[in-house]
């Protein structure tokens, strides 16, 4: 073999070794973990949370720019317990869950870790498995799903409410859900086979906050305006892990509906349950590839919300986090992904 070929091979090997030494999932033992409560929200929609008659602090959210965690970081678990049991909550003291799912946890404490290696972002979720409630399996294929919704500052309210800006009173399984949605002209295109999916108000011409039916599922903006919103970053980047065998993770976004594909940034979403603990790790490129993806870069603060569809849950029967900030090497962020 010629000297140049040998040298080239050695160089290639050295680069590969060096590359693998720095890239790849971090040593999670060295990444700080933050434990957050993920609680059962019932039918508490964005419209509900932003109306003073239902939620006495709604005016403070608007006037003082107070995020959910400002008041609720200590009592989210209590709220979850009450809601899941169908107990009255809120300003009107009414149950937010009309069909309390027996045996379901009110809250799940989850440990979240974030790290990056300059090329990829790694998010790790760990929690203790809740007891199988034995209730109806709304999603029989997936015992667990974990979703991350990420906003880059384009969605109104995301800074304060995490992913609540996607949750409306007229989504499927919510109080003002409309049967007409399944027959809508765009039902197939938008994935409304079971009813309306998450959307943000940037895709609607109007949202009814207090007057029933609350929400604005059918007040779609013209396609051109929705495309413009997409280009302007007014959407939530979506990643979802699905535990079912053969189930592929979702790499999509939420704008005028929930799109479960179109993204090309999620490289891995894996999880397993061992010794009573679930561990789920997401791996995605910092660069934004595909449709509906946000580029993740240092010096910026993103808004993030997490959800766990626990125990074969679907739709609103999930456990959610309050709104948090996320950043890359940004000590101001609630979740700071540090370079490993």
């Amino acid at each position: 073999m010629s000297k140049s070929v040998v040298s080239l091979s050695v160089l290639a090997l050295a680069v590969t070794v060096a590359w693998n030494a720095t890239a790849g999932p971090p040593d999670w033992g060295k990444v700080p973990a933050k434990k957050i409560p993920m609680f059962y929200p019932g039918q508490a929609s964005y419209e509900w949370a932003m109306t003073k008659a239902d939620h006495s602090a709604a005016n403070q959210v608007i006037e003082k720019g107070r995020g959910c965690a400002y008041c609720h970081d200590e009592d989210a678990t209590d709220i979850g317990k009450k809601v899941v049991a169908g107990k009255p909550v809120g300003n009107k003291k009414k149950p937010l869950e009309p069909t309390p799912p027996a045996g379901k946890a009110g809250f799940i404490p989850v440990s979240v870790q974030a790290a990056h290696d300059g090329e990829k972002l790694y998010l790790r979720f760990e929690w203790e498995d809740t007891n199988d409630s034995g209730g109806k399996k709304l999603d029989p294929k997936n015992e667990e799903k974990v979703t991350v919704l990420l906003d880059a500052g384009g969605v109104d309210g995301a800074k304060l409410n995490g992913c609540w800006s996607t949750c409306h009173n007229d989504l499927r399984s919510m109080p003002d859900a409309s049967d007409a949605a399944k027959k809508h002209a765009k039902a197939k295109a938008l994935g409304w086979e079971d009813g309306v999916t998450k959307y943000v108000k940037e895709s609607r011409t109007a949202i009814s906050m207090e007057e029933s039916p609350r929400g604005g599922w059918d007040k779609l903006k013209p396609d051109a305006e929705i495309d413009a919103a997409l280009k302007a970053g007014k959407f939530y980047d979506l990643m979802q892990y699905r535990s079912g065998k053969g189930e592929k993770p979702a790499d999509g976004y939420v704008l005028e509906a929930r799109h479960m594909d179109g993204g090309k940034s999620l490289t891995k979403a894996e999880g397993k349950m061992e010794e009573g603990k679930w561990v789920v790790v997401f791996e995605r490129t910092l660069a934004a590839s595909g449709t509906g993806k946000h580029k993740i870069e240092a010096g910026k603060l993103y808004n993030v919300g997490f959800a766990i569809h626990d125990d074969y849950a679907a739709a609103r029967f999930h456990h959610v986090s309050l709104g948090y900030t996320f950043g890359l090497d940004n000590p101001k962020a609630d979740f700071n992904a540090v370079k490993q």
Partner: protein, 218 residues
């Protein structure tokens, strides 16, 4: 001898008059003390819960109150009907309001005699009016009855729930009064029944449940 001396000197008609005046004065003072003391004792008697409950109509709000933290709590503090519904005697202003309240309460006697709320149905029909009357009365003197025991400045931040702390800070800032938010504390929260948008929140205590459980915060 001076005139004054003559009055008090023994053995003359002037002294008999003086002695008489003194006797009348002393008897008058004694009667005054007995009357004023007796009057106020009687007034306090009408503040006792047993007195309130002597009208059967009051059994309805009583049974509701028994499920709340103001009836049963960890430290055994008991707040009775008059503690909330009758002004106290801590200040002359309060005392005057108590007096006026007692006069107003004579209407309750008339109501009892005419059977105004003597059945459950009649009571429920008038519940909202009675509640609104009380809320207005409490608001008119800045929830003094609440503040006789509960003071913003004495709420220990380390023992208060964060959400309560934030709400009370707002209340102080916005110069709100206790009854603005804490309606339905001891009786059925009638303000919630029609789904009104008024800011009203039942103070649930640590457990937030009925029947009454030990109040961990008390």
């Amino acid at each position: 001898m001076s005139d004054l001396g003559r009055i008090f000197a023994k053995g003359n008609s002037a002294s008999r008059v003086g002695g008489g005046i003194l006797t009348i004065l002393l008897v008058g003072i004694a009667l005054g003390v007995i009357f004023w003391g007796g009057f106020n004792t009687g007034l306090e008697y009408t503040n006792r819960m047993e007195f309130c409950l002597s009208c059967h109509e009051m059994r309805i709000p009583y049974e509701e109150y028994k499920k709340t933290v103001h009836y049963n709590n960890r430290a055994g503090q008991q707040v009775t009907c008059s503690d909330c519904h009758v002004p106290g005697s801590k200040t002359p202003g309060d005392y005057t309001r108590k007096f006026v309240r007692k006069i107003e309460a004579s209407r309750d006697v008339w109501g009892h005699l005419t059977g105004s709320i003597d059945t459950k149905e009649k009571y429920e029909a008038k519940r909202k009016i009675m509640a609104e009357r009380e809320w207005e009365r409490m608001k008119s003197h800045d929830s003094t009855e609440c503040r006789n025991c509960h003071k913003f400045e004495r709420m220990d931040p380390e023992k208060t729930k964060k959400r309560a702390r934030i709400k009370h800070e707002e209340a102080v800032e916005e110069k709100m009064t206790c009854i603005d938010c804490h309606k339905g504390i001891a009786h059925k929260p009638v303000h919630l029944e029609e789904g009104e948008g008024e800011s009203g929140e039942k103070q649930e205590g640590e457990s937030g449940e009925k029947p009454a459980k030990p109040d961990e915060k008390a």
